[in-house]
Subunit: 236 residues, 4 copies
């Protein structure tokens, strides 16, 4: 892992966490689900199952950012988290619904679907880490998603093995690899940078708390990988 | 209390709560602080002290609505609470800061000021009721503020004893008595109506939970009255 | 489901919830893992995997009862939940550790093991339902465990297909089917009875909240069934 | 502040916090209420009012330690906090009730009394700091009580101005100055020592988080002083 991961520079806090759990990170970011998206070979039923669960994921993700507002001790942190809540509820969910319609899935289908175990485990793990810890614990548990999807998108765009032409998942790749989402991910990386500085200082890896943050991050990365696997297995 | 209280109709859940603790409600809504605003006789130092504490109140109030997003079990409830968070952070705080500048108070003054005990007690009571109970408990604890300020504004506008001409507090009266704020307050009344129906049903006053809601509401009303008193006493 | 389920009488709140999700309840209480315990055919590796995860489950279960203390609004409810916390930390964990030693598993093995996804999903679901809802929501999410293990134990003891002689799982069956555990389970059923009466009243199934409680209970039942399945599959 | 404060050594984390807010600490620990207890001159009505509020304080304090169990990330921390919950519910509340009976106050009097604003503000501040922050934030917010009462008791016992003979408050002084309570307070000091080391490290005062902990501690100290003042003023 010699090079930066898209929006995640090696020197950043998130970059250091990534390096501490490199095998888990690779299993997540280069998961078979992602590779089959990249080359277009993913069975469409798997993608549809993923899209439905991703909608339910977004709902819980929004609750997690609302919790971040509650947990913030400065107006700047409150505003940062509240703008994520606002964007999720008023933009991203709408885009997701539109996108799913093109795959033949209606919003009521998504609301009626049962949450898969993998969706429950990652989302509720994040919410519980966030409630029992502080804002930094919460943001680190969110990072595999908030920062990781940007890294995955950037890697897909940069990878010569990625096929865009005639790939049914081209829009998805271009969404997460596109400049707008990269900017959002860089924002999430920077937010963790700031909150780490405020709660731990400039040398977080020297803090006794660092191992706890590595544990939270690694566990969240593994649960994100289970989320891809759930798509691949069409698992409940 | 034969008539509706501005945005609070007697038949509404909030209206029924008001009727159950009429003396406390009257002590709050007709507090000397409010009456002296109405006739312009309030010492300006009291008003300035109140404005500074009100800013700190808004910060905690925002956290309470973020908690309501986290606590919501439907997208509609999430959106309703999130739009309050958004309005508070991006509109109301800005208006408050502008308004305070006209009273010679800068935002840094407000941020530097120590939170008064009365501010702490109401805001943290709301947050704790909300965290330990459900969304309805939280909204009922917020109601003396979210619905009550609208009732106070409407009462001031309707009261022949209110003097607008040459009243230094005229803007304040017209803000809370004005149509826009009345609409916001009616929204808060209706939100409680919906959540009550979803959690208790159509006859909330027949539920064993009703007495608990009356207790929460009455206590919150008393703590709001202490907030006015803090302004009057210039209390820390 | 014409008859009572051990400590769960049909007329009780928990009994009514059980009847509302009979297929899920049956899949949980008569899961292959349970049947193979009953006839002694369960591979011992599966049981060991289950025991390790069950230890980690107990830690989170203790946190859930601590949350119930925080969420209680009466001293009686606080004492009831606190005595569960005390028993879990000071008795049940010790018994579990002793029991596991007989299966060749040390406490440090259990602490070092990674939490399986199925363990994470049930425990964090319970904690999140409990934090976002009220005490009743929390207790209902706990019920498949707090009341269900007693029902399973009683069913195993009553079932002629259960083989105790030369069954390596005999102790386990006798623990959960034994009088002491049955008493604990009846206590959990009665606690839900009391809290339901205090929060909803005598006809909970007529309350609009009933469907929400059914959803929480059914989902928790399914997640408990996944916990058995994790044992059977030796799943991470 | 050259010397240790009873159970609080100058070198301990709590000792360093005390030194950072020496004026507030002195206003709290040498409050007129405390001095009038020491010399027996406190009006008995003030003491009775204090006792009633102290009972309600204990209930919220118990909830705070239950929250500490939920927030703990090690079994040792869980056990430490759970033993406080157990002692509060099963020993200290009983002793308090007995003691109050000698002052003519029954448990039902205490339960029926309205919580004073000063009781609400300190207890809910602690609960909110604890919920929004991590275990260390919670323990620091509790420290003015968990460690401070021991410091006050030790100071009273050591002070030649304290009069024990014919002092109606002699039992109270000897309780908090006695060896058993001193041991409990030392335990609270040591718990903060351990959790600080685990979350920040060996040089907490060099951490950027230190100023936040000082703020939490100082604010909690001030709210504790308001609690004495409430007794003196017979304030609601």
């Amino acid at each position: 892992m010699a090079t930066d991961q898209g929006p995640i520079s090696n020197a950043s806090v998130v970059g250091q966490l990534v390096q501490r759990c490199a095998p888990a990170w690779q299993s997540y970011t280069e998961h078979a689900f992602v590779q089959q998206i990249a080359n277009g070979s993913l069975p469409q039923a798997c993608f549809r199952h993923f899209l439905i669960q991703d909608y339910q994921f977004l709902v819980q993700f929004t609750r997690a950012y609302a919790l971040a507002v509650y947990k913030s001790t400065s107006l700047d942190d409150m505003r940062e988290a509240a703008s994520a809540v606002h964007a999720l509820l008023n933009t991203e969910m709408g885009l997701h619904v539109e996108y799913c319609q093109r795959w033949g899935i209606s919003e009521s289908d998504m609301l009626a679907a049962q949450e898969a175990t993998a969706t429950t485990s990652y989302t509720r793990y994040v919410l519980d880490v966030g409630m029992s810890g502080d804002l930094l614990d919460l943001l680190v548990a969110l990072a595999p998603c908030s920062c990781g999807y940007g890294a995955i998108g950037a890697a897909l765009m940069a990878d010569p093995a990625t096929r865009l032409a005639d790939n049914p998942y081209r829009d998805w790749i271009e969404l997460y690899g596109g400049e707008e989402f990269q900017r959002v991910s860089r924002g999430a990386v920077e937010q963790i940078e700031r909150v780490t500085r405020a709660r731990i200082g400039d040398q977080p890896a020297d803090s006794p708390r660092w191992e706890q943050l590595v544990c939270i991050f690694e566990r969240a990365v593994r649960l994100e990988a289970s989320f891809w696997q759930m798509g691949l297995d069409l698992a409940e």
